[in-house]
Amino acid sequence: MNLRSGTSRRVLSAAVVLVTAAAIVAGGDGAVAADAALLKLKARYKRPASIPFPKANGYSDAKSRLGHTLFFDPRLSGPGTVSCATCHNPALGWKDGLPRGVGHDAKQLGRATPTILNLAWADLLMWDGRKEGLEDQATGPIEASVEMNQPMPALVEKLSAIPGYRRMFREAFGRDEISKATIAQAIATFERTLVSNKAPFDRWIEGDESAIGEDAKRGFKIFNEKGNCAACHSGWRFTDDGFHDVGLKSEDVGRAAQMPNEPTLKYAFKTPTLRNINLRAPYMHDGSVRTLRDVVIHYDTGFVQRPSVSPEMRRLGLAEQEIKDLVAFLHTLTSQDDMIPVPVLPTKEEGQ
């Protein structure tokens, strides 16, 4: 058979393998082989050089500025009390610090607010993956009756009555059109710019051995080997953007609500990023786990066994020191990020 078309994605990986293999051969002893293996492992966590923006919604400063303004504007909600930033609060790791989200009029939501950090690389958003991408997701909470409760036609009318917004949409899109599509594109563009900065872990990956402690280095090894955490929390964002049942006691079937004919997706939820994770307690899709230590213990011995549980889950048998090392490692993933200012919102009094 012939390969008739297609482009290999494997060239870079093959190069890494070859370099690693060469190092092993040249060294000829266990220590060199271990160093080469660690080097190969570290390469899997290297940060990308730039933010990807889709062709259909390319970046511009004006669009991002508009999205930033919309994101913080409570007028995007029906009652005028809730903005995107109310739940996705930059001061709280772009979530809300609550076990489960709260919509307008103090309505209790069913799941925890996910962070929106580093979503430029994500696919299938929401805990159950029901949104294809950021443009699709951006207006979902606005229109949801329990969240921001704002019918889109009313929002378009509301924004169109504000001269400052008419100007900002014109600058962003070259026309006066205020629509669901342009609102979504602007918010999505702003969201793509929200990228965590380099953390101590990244500096260690780059070769600074003093960037993280020995306990965290041991934790990194456990994370990738005995703990099997990297089976799902993989890559520089520490997520595979996949859907897994991690054995939490819950009636919420997660991804299976979208794909009911796939039993392995029952109770499956999207793998969250671990970047800046110590800023985002409580944890899990239902906010049921209070601390990172408790998260590690859940994966060690605390999860429910059932047919849909991820095949990557196993009883780990971690020692107390290993639990501490894993938590120490997780703390090295937190970066000092850029301050995101709260924008001055355009008013009806502003001239065009």
Binding site: M1, L3, S8, V11, R44, D241, G242, N261, E262
Partner: protein, 106 residues
């Protein structure tokens, strides 16, 4: 120096040669399919090989938009899939939906 495409084709050829059945082979490694898009003849088999260290669940959406049930594959397992409907098929891992490729059937 060989260009990356040449190297890619050599690697791909080696993988194809290793397939015992002679079927066109797609390897899953590091949560990616080895190809983004392939074209096959109507009725041709494609072998999906899980060379990863995690389980995958391949789902195929045929040209009519209908989804076939997922095929669970533990590490090391492989599955042969016959493509006998002309048009574009989307292949995706249900566990890791970023893994996707297309199979065009002539």
């Amino acid at each position: 120096m060989k260009n990356p495409m040449t190297i890619a084709l050599v690697v791909a050829s080696m993988l194809i040669a290793s397939a015992a059945s002679g079927a066109l082979s797609i390897v899953q490694k590091e949560k990616q399919f080895s190809e983004e898009a392939i074209t096959v003849k109507n009725g041709e088999m494609v072998r999906f090989i899980n060379d990863d260290n995690v389980t995958h669940n391949i789902a195929i959406k045929d040209p009519s938009g209908a989804n076939k049930p997922g095929i669970m594959q533990k590490p090391g397992e492989q599955s042969d899939v016959k493509f006998d409907q002309a048009g574009e098929h989307e292949v995706r891992c249900l566990i890791h939906p970023k893994m996707k490729m297309s199979v065009k059937v002539d």
